[in-house]
């Protein structure tokens, strides 16, 4: 028998023994135990060390709000830190370790921090680590220097480094009524809504439905409340329109009644089922929500209130009734309200001795006197606990006469021997989700608590303790009414389950703190004391938001579930204002910690979709080094063994200009623009005319943005009177498509035009060079490809290797070149036929590097120059700006700043020292390596030009056109590259286009 396990009672399965370890030591518990209840049953009271002072800490609570007993759970190589021991269900083989202690939990070196308490007071970090204003450790450098040591001393559990091998998944759910919380209110709401035929989801963060019914010791419908709850949950389970989600924390309330929940599916299992996810992240869209989230008991703030053995009254009651564990043999109770008397009686009945009940109120009601009498405890009304005694475990506490009107202590202090002290500072409704939903909490003076507000935009209804109705009878009535209302039914009178409960007034005395010598903790997890709050006030932090940030009150992993209201009360007293005037902070999601794994679910690793051209496999099989360009993968070079990248692209570009080269251009954006008004639409989109374009011809077009800056360029082919094929740059395909759709939908809805993205439907190969036409002639049937049949910018239809193709004679490389389009499925077939036909002519395959090299030689622009800052004039494309018609951007393109003479203009740059140039390098008039300055502009693209035998670049340079023929310097301090250059025209090679016109 474990030392603290009661003889009988509790929901645990005493026939099933579970073996687990804590800090390496073996323990046993029973099925149904949490790690907290099992360790407590084994006599363990020390669970962790506190954040800042490394004070010994035990269990404060029995559920999700636990601030002290945080553990790290180990699963193989995977470690998960900062899990409340109260939320860990034990299983065979569970291994958990305590946190924030060195070298061991019982003997912790940093506990000396307690002696230097003043050092670590509020704002310690801000004050200390501003650092000296001069010297090697000035400012934040000092913080960086100290950080390593502080992080080791202060903090929580350590995250693991092993990859998490567990599966996580996401689910979407829709329902008429989501009920959050399954206490008597939630169960009644779910049943009432389900009876109306509504689709109901009932979410409960604990493993068992029933909430307080599981440990209240009350009687409902003539049976123990826990049995009533189990029966009610069982009845719901069989219904088609009800989904029960145990171990599911609803942690976020978002717009449109969308709620986020985390279901812990396998954390309680020794071995997860095959394919079972560890956590499931639910997105629940509910027509209506019933919030039956209950309330949280508050600690009292007094010296030594953090010593292991001091716990919330209801938590002790829960351990006794639900788990059959006595947290102590000799128990004291310190309270400001009636609710805790029931807890004392429960512990008495479970076998403990209740030594004393200390109540801050001078007078007790006759009902409370009667309850207290049943506990056989000494009753000390008008008293307060002013200190606790003991080391790592409680051995007793000191009491003194207390005047709750002025907080004064009087008379002699007296010690009472006890190993457990229950405390109760009243209850705060768990309004987190309602607060997230956007409404402001309202202070209730009688209950000394913030009550949920009225719903504003979101569709929710509250019930039970959540609304401040703390009795089970009220919860049952409100739950039913809320369920009916949420399901859209009107409430009708009905016989409700009868409740037998201990009496009591729900209103606590307005006492939050006992001011006496010693550290009185407000925020247990962040080690914030009442003095810290007052210090923050003295230092000028008067708003609750600033108070939180300065003291870190309520900012730990428990988000101040038990500390917010006491902290606020102490702040209010310091300010001399009532609590509602100090205000409360708004709760933010998540309600409790959420695993990152569940948020990511299946979305991990490389999330980028890969876009592959139809000829991708061929490229890879034929030695291409692939390069990722946006989502696309494109050949960079087809390197030969031993070649550098530069050698490869120089060979490819030279081969193209000497005989012929072929490149995959399938990635170009392609949009079918069709309809009676297609030509008119293109005239409005492009700066130049398309309505004058003959069928069977293509034209190079430029688009501007509405603000007059250059947007995108490409060729558009007129395939029929009302049928155009627009091509865009690879990078802008999506943006251009959206641009077209926007104008058709929003601006010019009268135009009869339909646009369709056909990028993926066409495979494209560009073949260029002096022998390109001969190669085509050798493999194309059904059409001639000579100059008469296929002039510059002409389009023909034919066949290659039995496959229909569309060929347009246009050139990006500056050579006589043709773009051959076929259906995507035939891409590789056509490509291979072209390669085969090209063999006798020395056809080379070339990649992006050679493509870039040849376009730089020709001075064509791409996204590096059309960078959202350049105009058509800057790029010497003003010849494309039609004066005959308005087009998008035409009204704005001539604004003063866009035609200024000192704008950055496109130029060519030639390296004069025969050294490579770099993209992003600056162009300057005078070289100053020590103090680089006076940038005229920058290089946008660079290469070694085999056609010129020089390193060349394109650049955007201030007043660039006028600088042609002048000398300047490249200044690139990042890469330590400085040297002389010549500014020239961007048209380096074959400026009159004789090669492509042939």
């Amino acid at each position: 028998m474990s030392p603290r396990r009661t003889e009988a009672g509790g929901r645990i399965d005493r026939l099933r023994t579970i073996r687990f370890t804590f800090d390496g030591a073996p323990y046993t518990g029973h099925a149904g135990d949490t790690l907290a209840s099992a360790l407590l049953a084994n006599g363990v009271t020390l669970f962790g060390r506190s954040f800042k002072y490394h004070r010994p800490r035990g269990l404060l609570t029995a559920s999700v709000e636990e601030p002290n007993a945080l553990v790290t759970v180990l699963r193989g190589e995977v470690r998960e830190p900062n899990i409340p021991a109260t939320m860990v269900e034990i299983y065979d083989g569970l291994a958990a370790i305590s946190q924030n202690r060195f070298p061991s939990l019982a003997w912790d070196i940093s506990a000396v921090n307690q002696l230097g308490g003043k050092l670590l007071s509020a704002g310690f970090y801000y004050k200390t680590f501003m650092g000296p204003v001069i010297g090697p450790l000035k400012g934040t450098r000092f913080w960086m220097f100290c950080e390593h040591f502080i992080r080791r001393a202060a903090g929580l559990g350590k995250a693991g480094t092993a990859p998490d091998t567990a599966r996580y998944e996401r689910m979407n759910a829709f329902c008429d009524v989501l009920v959050v919380g399954s206490g008597p209110a939630g169960l009644m709401a779910a049943r009432a809504a389900a009876d109306q035929g509504a689709r109901v989801i009932l979410a409960e963060l604990e493993p068992h439905f029933g909430g307080s019914a599981n440990w209240s010791g009350e009687t409902i419908d003539g049976m123990p409340a826990a049995d009533w709850a189990a029966r009610a949950a069982g009845q719901l389970e069989g219904r088609d329109n009800v989904r029960l989600l145990p171990r599911t924390t609803v942690w976020g309330y978002y717009d449109g009644n969308t709620l986020a929940a985390l279901e812990r599916v396998t954390d309680h299992k020794e071995t997860p089922g095959k394919g079972e996810s560890r956590h499931r992240y639910w997105t629940i869209r509910a027509k209506s929500v019933v919030l039956a989230t209950g309330s949280l008991e508050r600690p009292l703030v007094f010296p030594g209130n953090d010593r292991p053995g001091v716990m919330l009254a209801h938590a002790a009651e829960r351990y006794a009734i639900e788990y059959g564990v006595l947290p102590g043999d000799r128990i004291g109770l310190f309270t400001n309200n009636d609710s805790a008397y029931r807890a004392a009686l429960a512990l008495k009945k479970a076998g403990a001795v209740v030594v004393a009940i200390i109540d801050v109120r001078p007078e007790l009601s006759s009902e409370m006197r009667k309850l207290a009498g049943e506990t056989e405890a000494e009753i000390l009304s008008g008293h307060a606990v002013i200190a606790t005694e003991g080391g790592k475990a409680l051995s007793g506490f000191k009491v003194q006469r207390f005047d709750m009107v002025n907080g004064a202590l009087s008379g002699d202090a007296r010690s009472i021997h006890a190993d457990c002290l229950l405390m109760s500072g009243g209850w705060s409704p768990t309004i987190h989700l309602a607060s997230q939903a956007g409404a402001k909490a309202e202070w209730n003076e009688a209950l000394q608590a913030f009550l949920p507000p009225k719903p504003t935009t979101q569709q929710w209804i509250g019930a039970g303790a959540f609304t401040g109705s703390f009795s089970t009878a009220e919860a049952i009535a409100e739950g039913r009414a809320a369920g009916l209302s949420a399901a859209g039914a009107t409430a009708t009178p009905a016989a409700l389950p009868a409740v037998e409960a201990a009496p009591g007034d729900p209103d606590p005395a307005p006492v939050f703190e006992i001011k006496a010598e010693g550290k009185s903790f407000v925020d247990f997890q962040h080690d914030v004391t009442a003095d810290d709050v007052r210090l923050a006030h003295r230092e000028g932090f008067v708003s609750v938001e600033h108070l939180k940030r300065y003291t870190t009150l309520g900012m730990a992993t428990d988000q101040g579930k038990s500390s917010n209201i006491p902290g606020l009360a102490i702040m209010a007293e310091a300010l001399g204002k009532p609590i509602p005037q100090v205000g409360t902070t708004r709760f933010r999601p998540p309600f409790s910690a959420v695993s990152i794994g569940s948020l990511a679910a299946e979305r991990f690793g490389d999330l980028k979709p890969e876009r592959l051209t139809p000829m991708h496999d061929w490229h890879v099989a034929n030695g291409a080094t692939m390069y990722s360009a946006g989502l696309w993968y494109r050949p960079m070079i087809y390197g030969h063994p031993g070649e550098t990248i530069e050698q490869a692209y120089v060979r490819e570009a030279r081969g193209t200009r000497e005989s012929a080269g072929i490149v995959d251009v399938s990635t170009l954006g392609k949009i079918a623009v069709q309809g009676p008004d297609a030509a008119e639409f293109l005239d409005r989109l492009y700066t130049n005319m398309f309505s004058t374009l003959a069928v069977g011809k293509a034209r190079y077009g430029l688009m501007l943005r509405e603000d007059g800056l250059a947007f995108d360029d490409g060729t558009t082919w007129r395939l029929g009177q009302q049928d155009f094929l627009m091509t865009t740059t690879t990078a802008n395909a999506g943006k251009v498509m959206q641009h077209l759709e926007y104008f058709l939908d929003v601006i010019w809805p009268a135009l009869k035009v339909h646009v369709t993205s056909v990028t993926d439907q066409w495979a494209g190969a560009a073949i260029g060079g002096p022998k390109a036409r001969q190669i085509l002639a050798a493999c194309v049937s059904g059409t001639a490809v000579d100059n008469a049949a296929l002039p510059f910018m002409g389009i023909v239809h034919g066949e290659i290797a039995g496959v229909p193709v569309m060929i347009c004679r246009l050139s990006f490389s500056g050579e006589m070149a043709f773009e051959v389009y076929s259906g995507a499925g035939y891409g590789t077939h056509v490509w291979e036929a072209l390669i085969e036909a090209g063999k006798p002519f020395g056809l080379v395959t070339y990649g992006l590097e050679a493509l870039g090299t040849m376009r730089i030689e020709k001075g064509h622009v791409t996204g590096a120059e059309i960078d959202g800052r350049t105009t058509a004039r800057d790029l010497h494309l003003d010849w494309m700006l039609s004066k005959k018609k308005p087009f998008i951007g035409s009204a704005m393109m001539d604004r003063e700043g866009l035609i200024a003479p000192d704008r950055l203009e496109l130029v060519g740059i030639v390296s004069l020292d025969n050294q490579p140039l770099n993209g992003g390098a600056h162009i300057v008039e005078e070289l100053d390596e020590a103090n680089p300055h006076g940038s005229l502009g920058h290089i946008t693209a660079c290469c070694y030009s085999p056609a010129l035998g020089k390193y060349i670049a394109l650049a955007l340079v201030k007043g660039g056109k006028a600088r042609r023929g002048t000398r300047a310097y490249v200044s690139d301090p990042l890469r330590n590259r400085f040297g002389p250059v010549e500014i020239v025209s961007n048209h380096f090679f074959d400026p009159d286009g004789s090669r492509m016109h042939g």
Binding site: D255, G256, T258, D745, A891, M892
Partner: protein
């Protein structure tokens, strides 16, 4: 946030792309009134309350919608196709349904 596309029905906001202030008035294409163009391109309302917006159902039917959204509460009080003639089509479709 849910946006009810007149064509596809209520869909999650992740399916949509915001395409700007729906109050913008584009001047006549040939207009030389730079002030009007400037207002169209650069001036935006920033109301605390109902706002006319253009959203594209980019992950769905790709239609542009005129959406009235409350910037304080994200409440959407109306949605319609930006392309007016589509609305009658959608209405006919809705009426066709049994």
């Amino acid at each position: 946030m849910l946006i009810t596309c007149p064509y596809c029905g209520p869909r999650d906001v992740i399916e949509f792309t915001y395409q700007g202030d729906g109050n913008r008035q584009r001047p006549q294409p040939a207009s030389q009134n730079l002030d009007a163009w400037n207002a169209y391109v650069y001036d935006r309302l920033n109301p605390a309350g109902d706002h006319n917006e253009i959203w594209q159902h980019s992950g769905g039917c790709r239609a542009h919608l005129r959406v009235v959204r409350n910037t304080l509460t994200h409440e959407i009080s109306s949605t319609a196709f930006a392309r007016g003639d589509h609305n009658s089509v959608a209405r006919h479709r809705a009426e066709d349904k049994p």
